[in-house]
């Protein structure tokens, strides 16, 4: 899934090269699925409860919010940028929307408010990165603190309690339709929508072009600033939605919920095969990455392993993922070069 859209090469050669690249990166998603299957199978063999109805529901519910954030984050990372502020946006939205709902707002206006706050945060990030040309790392590190500070100011030591939230919101957090919980359902729908857009629309492909080479994309007439802004906007909106879902799921919210989640989200994205250097990867991979990290966390608890290992394993996975990316990138580049020479 690299940016191979605008190459006026002979069609046959282009197609074969493209399918090769696709195959390699499909392999990444495939290997994630295999790792997941092995992990789930192994854990279930030791403790069958892990795959009971409740067990599967737990896994899906635990993954939903992280996967939603990972989908938004991967759009930003694909354009060779980074959004460190997502955790703070989730915390801010969860509290503000919780406050609004507790004072009598309806569920729908509450969700709209949450997404609007997320959009405003994303817009600020996007404008600073794309138009003011400040490095994304610095901008979003700054906004991480700003959003968190705002949240602490608004919260002023208060806490949102489940009893003050409307029952409709609470049942959104753990209810289900036809046996499928709402939260993962929402995440899956959004994931497929964004995945399809990035893959099938010319403007979607431009996100990859920007990540592969910003300079080349600009020269090719891609509206780089607008696309980067859009990526941050989407990430912000999804973080806002995730904030509402967080509130629905946990019911009790203080000022610093989702504190530190930005790094977890980026881990999920990278483990899911989205290159941190941009231009490569898919939202499906990112969501799979989120699922894998969550399943590992759950499995270690069920297998009664010391929780210390959870962080160590997450770290090891990250290193493996990055090494595999590097090796694959070199292989693919060499293969492509050889093909075009012999073609």
């Amino acid at each position: 899934m690299t940016a191979t859209t605008t190459r006026p090469e002979p069609a046959a050669r282009d197609r074969s090269a493209r399918s090769l690249v696709d195959l390699v990166f499909r392999a990444r998603e495939l290997s994630l699925v295999l790792a997941l299957a092995a992990l789930v199978g192994g854990t279930a063999a030791v403790n069958p409860n892990f795959l009971s109805g409740q067990g599967v529901e737990d896994i899906l519910l635990n993954t939903a919010i992280l996967a939603l954030l990972a989908v938004g984050q991967s759009m930003v990372v694909i354009t060779r940028n980074l959004d460190l502020s997502v955790g703070s946006v989730v915390g801010l939205v969860a509290f503000v929307v919780g406050d609004a709902l507790a004072s009598g707002w309806g569920l729908v206006p509450g969700v709209v408010l949450g997404i609007a706050i997320g959009a405003a945060c994303g817009l600020l990030n996007g404008l600073l990165v794309s138009f003011c040309r400040v490095p994304a790392l610095v901008v979003t590190l700054g906004t991480l603190y700003v959003f968190q500070g705002v949240c602490h100011y608004v919260a002023a030591g208060r806490q949102i309690n489940a009893v003050n939230l409307p029952p409709a919101l609470l049942s959104l957090g753990n209810g289900a339709v036809l046996g499928v919980p709402y939260l993962p359902l929402i995440t899956v729908v959004i994931m497929f929508a964004i995945g399809y857009y990035l893959r099938a629309y010319p403007s979607g492909r431009e996100f990859y072009a920007i990540g592969s080479s910003p300079e080349a994309a600009r020269l090719a007439g891609v509206p780089v600033r607008r696309r980067v802004l859009a990526a941050y906007l989407v990430s912000g909106c999804l973080a806002g939605l995730a904030g509402v879902l967080w509130l629905a799921r946990f019911g009790t919210v203080v000022a610093d919920s989702a504190n530190g989640w930005e790094l977890l989200v980026i881990s999920a994205v990278v483990v899911g095969g989205v290159a941190i250097t941009g231009g490569v990867g898919s939202v499906y991979g990112a969501a799979l990455g989120a699922l894998l990290l969550t399943v590992i966390g759950g499995a270690l608890v069920v297998l009664r392993v010391n929780p210390f290992w959870q962080q160590a394993i997450t770290g090891a996975l990250l290193l493996i993922a990055i090494s595999v990316d590097r090796v694959l990138a070199l292989r693919v580049a060499r293969l492509l070069r050889r093909r075009s020479r012999h073609g």
Binding site: G149, V150, R304
Partner: protein, 356 residues
């Protein structure tokens, strides 16, 4: 990352404080200075009457904290019973340095006693000593100051009582039988670990021979982590009958998870929580009973203790006793501590009497 984030946060908070600080100062500046109320009687006279018109000041960790407000209001109520008056003043951020300026102001105003919940046991020590030099009695409550700079500490509950009563509470609900687990905060949390030691000790008694503690899990006072740990406990130990979560974050998260799962009604959950965060789960039947100390009683007792000190009924030495209104007679323990009593149990019938 952590200290940096904290620093940035402090900066933002400082801005907030600058914007809305100083709200409580203006109301007290006009109070006339008084001579020290009692001549610091060297010997206690348990029969001395409580003096009339005592002026007490509650200095909480921070104002606008619902829990702290309840304590101080109950203190004022108690002061009303002995014809004194009590007020609450304090900083809007929970820092020791902001408390110090309030201590100095209260000292100049010549209050009879200052009741403080210290943000730092040592940092407030100097100013408190200056207040004591002027004959002002110092009573710490909720969070102690260094013992040498206060007369009394009103301890909300002894660690031993918290630990043992949690086991007793759960045992009663599961009929003294079955596997139980503990969902704690972080693995190195001092409070929780002390309580857990006492829980384990309580479990060695004969009456709990059919109860087995199978696991102590750590939710790190994080919602998601506490969720996952609760799920893991329930999956790994299918015969689990009860969970004790002696941390407010953990017990709320575990309750939220259980309320939406098939384990609701199967597994008994109890722990230490606040009524507001647990109300939903008591009402929907997920949790039958949980515990915490009663903050109203804490403020009430603190007021009476301060009055007894000022009136010369007690000096703060171990073994002295004083009468604390409706709470009855109290004895001062080691290191000048007065223990409020066993934790208070909240359940459906009384939870609506509390708002914190």
């Amino acid at each position: 990352m952590r200290p940096m984030r904290l620093a940035a946060l402090t900066a933002v908070l400082a801005l907030g404080v600058a914007a809305c600080g100083g709200t409580t100062k203006s109301s007290v500046t006009s109070a006339p200075a008084q001579p020290p109320a009692s001549s610091a009687a060297a010997a206690a006279d348990p029969d001395a009457p409580i003096k009339q018109g005592l002026k007490l000041a509650f200095l909480p960790k921070q104002i606008n904290n619902p829990y702290m407000t309840i304590v101080a209001e109950a203190g004022a109520e108690a002061a009303g019973e002995f014809q004194g008056e009590a007020k609450e003043v304090g900083p809007s951020d929970a820092s020791a340095s902001s408390q110090i300026s309030y201590i100095n102001t209260l000292t100049q105003q010549g209050h009879d006693a200052i009741l403080i919940s210290a943000n730092d046991p040592n940092a407030v020590c100097g100013p408190l000593q200056q207040a004591r030099d002027k004959g002002i009695k110092i009573v710490s409550y909720d969070s102690d100051a260094a013992p040498e700079c206060r007369d009394l500490f009103i301890n909300q509950a002894s660690s031993e009582e918290v630990g043992r009563s949690q086991v007793q509470l759960l045992a009663e609900m599961i009929g003294h039988k079955g596997e139980i687990a503990i969902l704690s905060a972080t693995a190195n949390a001092t409070n929780q670990n002390t309580w857990i030691e006492f829980m384990k000790d309580e479990l060695t008694k004969a009456e709990y021979k059919d109860m087995e503690l199978v696991k102590v899990a750590y939710g790190d006072d994080d919602d998601q982590k506490s969720f996952t740990e609760t799920q893991g406990l329930l999956q790994a130990y299918p015969d689990l009958k009860g969970i004790i979560s002696p941390t407010t974050v953990g017990v709320a998260a575990a309750a939220r998870y259980i309320s939406g799962s098939k384990y609701k009604g199967e597994v008994v959950l109890t722990g230490l929580g606040t009524p507001n965060q647990m109300r939903q789960f008591v009402k929907d039947g997920t949790v039958e009973k949980f515990a915490l100390w009663n903050p109203k009683d804490l403020g009430y007792l603190a007021s009476y203790a301060a009055a007894a000190l000022v009136s010369g009924q007690i000096t703060g030495a171990e073994g002295e006793t004083f009468k604390a209104g409706k709470l009855g007679e109290r004895t001062i323990g080691a290191k000048g501590e007065v223990i409020l009593g066993p934790p208070f149990t909240f359940e459906a019938s009384n939870i609506d009497d509390f708002d914190f």
